[in-house]
Structures are given as C-alpha cells and as structure tokens.
C-alpha cells in the first residue's frame, strides 16, 4: 500500500471572479449570479490569476530579508543510482515510449513503507504543494502561559510580563475597547500600545502599535525579551492579552489579502471555527467597508459571507477543536480529538447540472438578497423576485425547488414543499391592474449540503390568447468540504485546544497546560530519470529503489 495522498485539485470558485465581474453593470446577470455563463467562463481564468498574485506577493515578501519566508526548503535528501540502473520502460513498441517511475520503499517507524511519487514529479509538487503524510510528537513540551493574561487596562500597571516561550513576534488581543483617540488642544492623540524589550540580537527596541479596532495585532519585530508594556488613550474597561502565539484571537486573517483598498472593493477576510448542533463549520467574515474608521465608530462591522461545512473522508460531520491556516497556500490544518485534517478552504464550485434547460427569462430576476448565494444547513434562506420588465407580467407563476439529491418539489410562497403532482400555479392577483407584487419566500428546509436549484416558471398570456412558458433557474449552494488528507493523531496530541505556527514554521499543539512540539512529515519522492537520482524530502535510515 502506498503512503501519501495527492491533492484532489478540486474545481473551486475563485474569489477574484466576483471582483472582475463587478465591473459589469449592477443589473446584469453576469454580476449578480455566480453561476451565470459569464462567471462560469471567467472562473478558470481568475483561478490562474489568483495563483499568480499569490506567488508575486510571496516573492515580494521574500525580496526583503525581514519578511523572507523562513520555511523555504534549504535541503533535500538524494539517492544517486548507479549508472547501470535501468528504469522500467514501456514494452509495447507501438505505444509512446514511457518510463515507469521506480518503487521507493523507506523505513518509517521500523516498517518498510512504499512512498508515492510527487504529483507532477517536480519541485513544486514535492516541496510546496505536497500534502502531509504523518504527524508525530517531537518529544518536546513547554509550559505555556500568556505573557500577560487577559487584564483590564486599569490593572495593567500591576502586571508584569513573564518570559517569552520562544522568540518571534508577539500577539496582542484587544477586547471591549471604545476609546480610539483623544483630542487635547489642537492635537489628536490616537490609542496606542507601547512595547519595550529586546530583539533577536539583544538590541533594546521599542514598538508602538496604533490600534484601530478590537482584534488581534501582530508586532512587526521579532522579540526575545519583553520588559514592559503600557498603553495610551484606551478605555479603562478594555481587556488586553499578550501572548507568543495567537491563541486568544477568535478569527484568523487569511494570507492572500494582498491589496487593501480604501473604497470597500477589497475586503479583509477572517476565518473562525463555529460549532453547530450537527458538526463544525469554517466561517469566513469580512468587513463590508474599506474605511476602518467606520468600524471603530460602531457604524459597521464584519459580515459573514462564507460558511463551509467540514466533513471527514467518510462524509460525516466532524467536531473540530482547533485550526490554523497554512501561510501562502489555500490549506487549513484542522484537528478534532483524534484526527488531523488538511482542508482546501476555497469555496468549491457547485454542481450546475440542475441549471440545464433554463429558458433564460430575462424579464425576471430571482435574487437571494439576504445571503448572496450560499447558505448553511438549518439557516433560513430568502428567495425573492425582481421583475425587470413591468410591461410584460405573468398571469401565473410557480416555484420548483430541486434538492441536491435530485428530488424535486413544488414550493409555495410560505416556504412549504409539495410533491410534483401538485399543480403549483399561483395566480397573479394584480394581473388585471397590470401590476406585479414581488414575491418573497423564506425557505427553512435547508437540510442537505450541495447545490439547490430554484426555478421560477412564468406563464405569459400572448396576443393570440395562447400561453407562453418561460423558466428562470437560480442556484444556491450549501458548501461542504472533505479533507485533502486525514491522518490519525498520535495519542500524545489528542485533545488539542489550539494549534499554531511559530516564527520558523514549527507547528505547536496546545492541550490546555503545555505546548507540544510536533513534526509534520511529507513522505514523497521525485525521480530524475536523466541524472538517475531519487530526491526525497525527509530523512530516512535506508531507502530501497526498485525499477
């Protein structure tokens, strides 16, 4: 049995698609509907551009030594094959000459295991895109305590920081603050947090963080010693917590937010875990304004735009306990009691089969105004009409809803489901007056994950007194993701409350009292057929190569 999982390369919806289509007029289907033809076309192009943007941002960070990625690979292990080693070749002379990759067997924990070839047999898929294959406890633990526990600002003078658990940036979480600035004479003083201590080279440094909103802040500098912390112009009843890893923060900022505009088109994206009655979800929230002054004055807050249901390999819900986002990728590491999951947390592209035979009635728009186009199981979903052409209104209309499992039902305006045998036609009471009353349905039976298709059928009376039928279909989506890989946790790592990366990319588990050091392995190999070398990412005692 081979050891190693290849990425699923699931077809996702790019966040960039909506940004590109926002250039279209507001009333077009191209802009409003995520499954319109235009968005279906742009989506693969946007995925490509997104990857390029992420690579450019990564490279820009690496251009400066202070922000250079410390997890870049700096060594590999190689097995040089002797000159007379022959790879197995394709026997059939009439077929394309093909070289079969060798079998590579290594010793893992005393057992001989065959490891998989990297997905595309190149550096990219061996070092950057490989999924973890196993996770082990690295036999080191640190007693964990916050550098400063959650303290009221009024009590901050009586608390002194303890020693840092390891060197690196410091995370400060501010909660319940309401004072953001003070005016004295003609000068405006902003709320600030001051830190004094020593950096990686024992230089005494001071850092000042101006705070704009309640949340978690990461220092720019790396610290070895924190001597003193004090604040200026903050609410006495606000709470401040200082720690070496961001365990107090409830939300994690994703790593792909590159440009932050001031006009609200580019938004911050935060992630957190949420526990529903049936399992865990990964929730993405964002600011709907670009001006943070509106946020801190209480005029605007974050809005949820995404909730992904987390499933395991058997498509059952999990009870996630902790998660961390892997920087510069779309992967999230999630742990529950016994397993370690790696998810691709991009939004999957829904199954659009149900949109076939849409006769495209462009006189009607079926909108989902409260939630853009995604929903979670158990939530209420609102479906609304918007007639665009009031000169042509239907005499009757009916709603049909197709569930993700393929079952179709008629839907009435109260949100109740009826079998297809029911006629379902609703007469337009105002047809005689030449008017249309917009319909609004609160649908409360979101019980499955997947793509729901809502059909609006309109019956139009023509001049020759015959009826014309036109259908508009819209899709709303209840996303659920399965892991790219699922690895059982060793017993020492069960029951984690939080997990986090430190400055050098080391993964730590927090079980409530201490920090446990872990090592994540990637057991894959790359075969160089020309130079007859096998490249490995991890160190093994013995490697066996069979052609």
């Amino acid at each position: 049995m081979t050891h190693g999982t290849l990425p699923s390369r699931r077809y996702n919806r790019a966040w960039l698609t909506q940004r590109l289509l926002n250039r279209a007029p507001e009333w077009t289907r191209a802009r409003r509907s995520p499954v319109s033809i235009a968005q279906q076309l742009v989506n693969p192009l946007a995925l490509e551009v997104q990857e390029t943007m992420q690579a450019l941002a990564h490279e820009r960070n690496n251009a400066h030594l202070a922000t250079c990625d410390l997890t870049l690979p700096d060594h590999a292990w190689k097995v040089e094959l002797p000159g007379r080693f022959e790879f197995r070749k394709e026997d059939d002379p009439s077929s394309y000459p093909y070289i079969y990759p060798p079998k590579v067997i290594v010793e893992i924990n005393g057992e001989n295991t065959e490891i998989t070839l990297a997905e595309k047999n190149n550096v990219q898929t061996l070092f950057y895109e490989a999924l973890p294959t196993r996770i082990e406890y690295a036999n080191q633990q640190l007693l964990w305590d916050e550098v400063i526990p959650p303290t009221l600002i009024s009590d901050l003078h009586s608390v002194s920081p303890i020693d840092l658990s390891f060197e690196g940036p410091i995370y400060i979480t501010v909660q319940n603050n309401t004072v953001w600035e003070k005016q004295f004479r003609a000068v405006l003083y902003r709320s600030k947090i001051y830190l004094k201590g020593k950096d990686l080279f024992d230089n005494p440094i001071t850092e000042v963080i101006p705070i704009r909103l309640n949340g978690t802040y990461k220092t720019r500098q790396n610290w070895t010693v924190l001597d003193e912390i004090f604040v200026a112009h903050m609410d006495e009843n606000a709470t401040i917590t200082v720690e070496c890893l961001p365990f107090t923060e409830e939300e994690v900022l994703d790593s792909r937010t590159i440009a932050i505009d001031n006009d609200g088109t580019e938004q911050y994206q935060y992630y957190q875990l949420k526990n529903r009655s049936w399992g865990s979800t990964l929730v993405g929230t964002r600011f709907i304004v670009g001006d943070l002054d509106q946020v801190r004055m209480g005029l605007s807050d974050k809005a949820t735009n995404l909730e992904l249901e987390l499933l395991n390999n058997d498509e059952e819900n999990i009870e996630a306990r902790a998660f961390v986002l892997l920087p510069w990728t779309n992967y999230a590491y999630v742990v529950d009691n016994n397993y370690f999951y790696v998810y691709d947390y991009s939004v999957p592209f829904p199954n659009i089969e149900g949109l076939r035979n849409d006769t495209g009635d462009n006189r009607i728009s079926v909108l989902f105004p409260d939630n853009p186009w995604m929903c979670t199981r158990g939530d209420e979903f609102v479906i609304q009409t918007k007639i665009l052409d009031l000169s042509t209104i239907p005499t009757h209309n009916r709603w049909t809803i197709t569930f993700p499992d393929g079952e179709k039902y008629r839907l009435d305006t109260d949100g109740n489901l009826w079998p297809l045998s029911v006629d379902g036609w609703i007469y337009n009471e105002s047809f005689g007056d030449g008017e249309w009353k917009e319909q609004r349905i609160a649908f409360n039976q979101v019980t499955q994950t997947g793509a729901y298709v809502v059909e609006f059928e309109g019956k139009y009376l023509q001049e020759d007194q015959t009826f014309l039928y036109r259908t508009t279909k819209e899709l709303f989506f209840v996303p659920a993701i399965t892991p790219e890989t699922q690895i059982p946790l060793p017993a020492q790592l069960w029951g984690a409350k939080k997990i986090g990366f430190d400055m050098s990319g080391q993964l730590w588990f927090y079980n409530g009292t201490s920090l446990l050091k872990t090592k994540v392995f990637h057991d894959y190999f790359m075969a160089d057929f020309q130079d007859k070398t096998i490249w490995l990412r991890e160190q093994y005692r013995l490697v066996k190569v069979i052609p």
């Binding site: 410390l70 690979p73 700096d74 013995l542």
Partner: protein, 317 residues
C-alpha cells in the same frame, strides 16, 4: 608477409539488470532566497545551517559591521567561521559609602599585552593609573579571564564581573581590544540656559565651546554673572548665566560605564602595535631611560620567520 585468417570466437557477456538498490540517502543543500540575500554581503551558508540561524547571521552584519579595520576584520571573520563574538566581561565603577563616584575621570584601556585602569585621565599627557594588569604572557596575573576579574576587583576604583555564559578559564587575549572613551566634536548649544549634552561621564577639562562670550569662565556653583557657566560632568549638563545667540558648537570627551567587553576567538595583531611589538623583541633601556626594541626574542623570531615564508620582504629604501 604474414597471412591473417579470421577466427570467430563466440561468447556472450551477460550484464545482470539491477533488481533493487538499497542505500542511505545523502543530504544535499538547496539554494534559496536567503542565499541570495547573503550574497549581498559575500556570506555563505554554513553546513546544515537552518534558515533562522542564517538570517540571524546575515542581520548580524548591521550590528557588527565589517571593514578594513580591527573590529571590522574580527566581525567578518567571526561571522564567516561561525565563531561569533560573545559578551565576556563588564567593568564598572566602585561606589563610595554614600554612593558617590570614587574617581573623577575613570577610563579603561584594553591593549595587546595589558589592561590599564586609569583613575584620573585628563588627556594623553596627564593621567593617574589605578592598576595595570598583564594579560599576554602565560605567567601574567591576568592571563585567564577569572584571574583578570579578581585582579580588577582588587583595584581602588573598578569592579568587574564575568558574563554568566562565558567560560571562566578563557584566555584574556581573546578580549576585543579597545577603550571606553570617545570624543564628540559637534554637539549643539542652543539658546537655552540649560544644555543637556548627548553623553554623560564627561572628562573634566575636555569641554570646548565655540561661543567664547557665553562660556568664558567655568564656575563650581551656580553661575551668577555673564560669561560664567557650570558643567555637571556626571550628568552631561551645562548651565550658563547668559544665553547663546543662535546655535553654537561644543566638543568634549566622554567615557561609557559599565564597559561591556566582548571576546572573540579571532585574534588580530598589528605588527605596528607598540604593545605587541614589545612582546616580540628584547627590550633595551637607553640612557634617557627610554625603552626600545632590540633583537627579536624566540616568539618574535618565529613570527618573522613565518612572515618571510609567506610573503616577500624587501630591506632598504
């Protein structure tokens, strides 16, 4: 003429195909972005050095910069050979029973062959030495670091202690040579009565002012008439009776206490260093009681012999 006949010999060579290879993998370093950053400073990654340690070594360039001078060469060599400077010794001043300074102008010099502690150093011609401790010869009283600390602690005005992480029996010649005083020539005097100078621990009598009208006579107490000024040498404050018109300059010598001395496994000696030369030659005392270098001693002969082997040396003009 020989006649050749062809003889055919039939045989087959069988080369067995390799069924499997079993071997231990070899570590192979891969260049990454950090190597490019280090290339700016002609640094190279040490064998099996991690990214974090490599980054610290590169950023150390700004903290301990290199150059064609004594400390610059030590910094660069120590960095390349992975023998970084370590904090070794701290020399501070003893306090009197009431917390007062025991000496007006203290100064410490670490030379090639000895450590000199001055209790009162006014300039290169006027000084009073508290203690001189030899460190070069193995029989010297300060040859080992812990012995040097003991010797300094027996002086009148100075106290020393070792860094907790340094080895106590490290040779004292590992200490990086230097002294703890410097001269500033361009501190500014603005139109205030109280001027706070940039540095503290000013050497008495070393302060020079460009505005001779405001700073004419130094007084011990508070100035009471135009032209008088008072200098607080410990705190680096200058109080004048009148105020300077415009911005003027002043210069002074200052010392730094506590004086932190680093140790480095890299030793650099200059053959022009007067103190080092004394160790290479027998000393001859002239009638004027001046000491000059005579013939080279054993160590000196070895040094010069090595030098002649490595490079060409010319005599004469």
């Amino acid at each position: 003429m020989a006649k050749f006949s062809t003889v055919s010999i039939g045989f087959a060579i069988k080369i067995s195909k390799i069924a499997q290879i079993q071997t231990a993998p070899v570590r192979h370093p891969i260049g990454n972005r950090f190597d490019l950053h280090a290339n700016t400073f002609t640094l190279q990654r040490l064998p099996q050095e991690s990214n974090v340690d490599f980054k610290k070594r590169i950023m150390d360039m700004t903290r301990h910069p290199g150059g064609p001078h004594y400390t610059g060469m030590i910094n660069n060599l120590a960095r390349e050979l992975n023998a970084p400077r370590q904090s070794a010794l701290t020399i501070d001043l003893k306090e009197g029973p009431y917390g007062q300074k025991l000496t007006p102008n203290p100064k410490v010099e670490i030379l090639a062959d000895r450590v000199v502690l001055y209790s009162d150093w006014k300039n290169f011609d006027e000084f009073v030495i508290d203690k001189e401790i030899n460190i070069y010869d193995p029989q010297s009283e300060g040859y080992f670091l812990n012995d040097l600390v003991i010797e300094i602690n027996t002086s009148d005005c100075f106290v020393a202690y070792l860094d907790p992480e340094v080895r106590p029996n490290l040779h004292s010649v590992n200490l990086i040579r230097g002294n703890n005083f410097a001269r500033i020539v361009d501190d500014l005097i603005r139109n205030d009565q109280l001027t706070v100078l940039r540095m503290k621990n000013i050497t008495e009598g070393s302060v020079w002012f460009s505005d001779k009208d405001t700073f004419l006579t130094e007084v011990a107490g508070k100035p009471s008439s135009p032209g008088e000024y008072h200098v607080d040498y410990d705190q680096g404050h200058v109080l004048s009776y009148s105020v300077s018109d415009g911005t003027h300059r002043c210069g002074y010598t200052f010392t730094v206490f506590p004086y932190k001395v680093d140790a480095s496994l890299v030793h650099i000696y200059s053959l022009q260093d007067v103190n080092y030369k004394k160790k290479l030659f027998y000393q001859e005392v002239l009638q004027s009681e001046e000491e000059i270098n005579a013939l080279p001693n054993t160590e000196g002969a070895e040094v010069f012999h090595q030098l002649f082997e490595e490079t060409e040396v010319f005599w004469g003009k």
